[in-house]
Amino acid sequence: MDPLDRIDRQLLQRLQDGIAVEQRPFRAIARDLGVSEEIVIARIQRLLDNGTLTRFGPLFNADKMGGAFCLCAMAVPAARFEAVAGMVNGFPEVAHNYERAHRLNMWFVLACEEPDRIETAVVEIEAATGLAVLRFPKEAEFFVGLRVPTHASSPDTAEARQAEGREAFI
């Protein structure tokens, strides 16, 4: 990956705060960074292409849309890991999937519009992979809303919590 220059870093910071729903939304960012709107857009595209950004767009709060969610885990044999990841990721209901260092090495979140679909998706994934899927629906949530960064050296900490945390781990 190309190293990030000063403008990239300023842009990342600005883009995490979000853009307004207004005409020419990149114009204000361009002005603040002292570059053209075209450069802002081209740099966002580059940060997406090189994997620095996972996504740029509306961050939806799935809870508020009324869907159903379930954290699931599987113990996948190492030799089959990539093939099984492909099968699991092929299900549109799989919103996030993480490889974790544990005997249960694949952890994914099913996000479905209809609650009944969670169960049938699990059955289909088990049938496709031949592996057991353990279900970990949330039974209680413990959360205090206001967060501050842990330390100055990682200004993206709070953002990462909000952005990844609340969505990736429903």
Binding site: L47, T54, F56, P58, N61, K64, A73, E99, F143, A163
Partner: protein
């Protein structure tokens, strides 16, 4: 998806792969969603107000930035005290989220999950030790599951 009407659904579907990178993206969204641009802008504003959209922003891949260690800490906590202790753990400023989930014996004994992010594993371990201290004897065992790799990250998909 009870809380979205057809126009909202069309908008979510049009935007779930991201915002078009155009100097004026809203007409492009309008075209994709089959809605007038005024409706697109009004509804996106309304969805931000109701919290369906948190914000229109960039999601950094923090594996590529400095936040390299992501540890799912898991604990086997007394059923009688898990909720009270969960509130305490969830209130720790370094815990991004904390849930009680079912045990799956014999495969899985842990019923409290707390996600911790850090610059490296040593930092995650120090934070896990702090959680362990707070849980005290109520926790019989704990573990940290580090994420090795993101295999997929798309968020909720809805049909157009």
């Amino acid at each position: 998806m009870t809380r979205l009407d057809p126009a909202d659904r069309a908008l979510v579907a049009a935007l779930q792969d991201g915002l078009p990178l155009d100097a004026d993206p809203w007409p492009v969204v309008a075209e994709r969603a089959g809605l007038p641009v005024e409706t697109v802008m009004a509804r996106l504003t309304a969805m931000q107000e109701t919290g369906i959209i948190r914000r229109i922003a960039a999601l950094p891949n923090h594996y590529r930035l400095s936040l390299n260690a992501n540890g799912m800490t898991v604990w086997d906590v007394d059923d009688d005290t898990v909720d009270a202790l969960g509130e305490k753990i969830g209130a720790l400023e370094f815990v991004s989220h904390c849930y009680r989930r079912p045990r799956r014996l014999p495969d899985w004994r842990y019923n409290l999950f707390a996600m911790v992010h850090g610059i490296d594993r040593a930092e995650v371990e120090a934070k896990a030790a702090e959680i362990a201290r707070l849980l005290g004897l109520a926790s019989r065992a704990g573990d940290i599951l580090y994420s090795v790799r993101i295999l997929k990250k798309t968020g909720l998909r809805i049909a157009a």
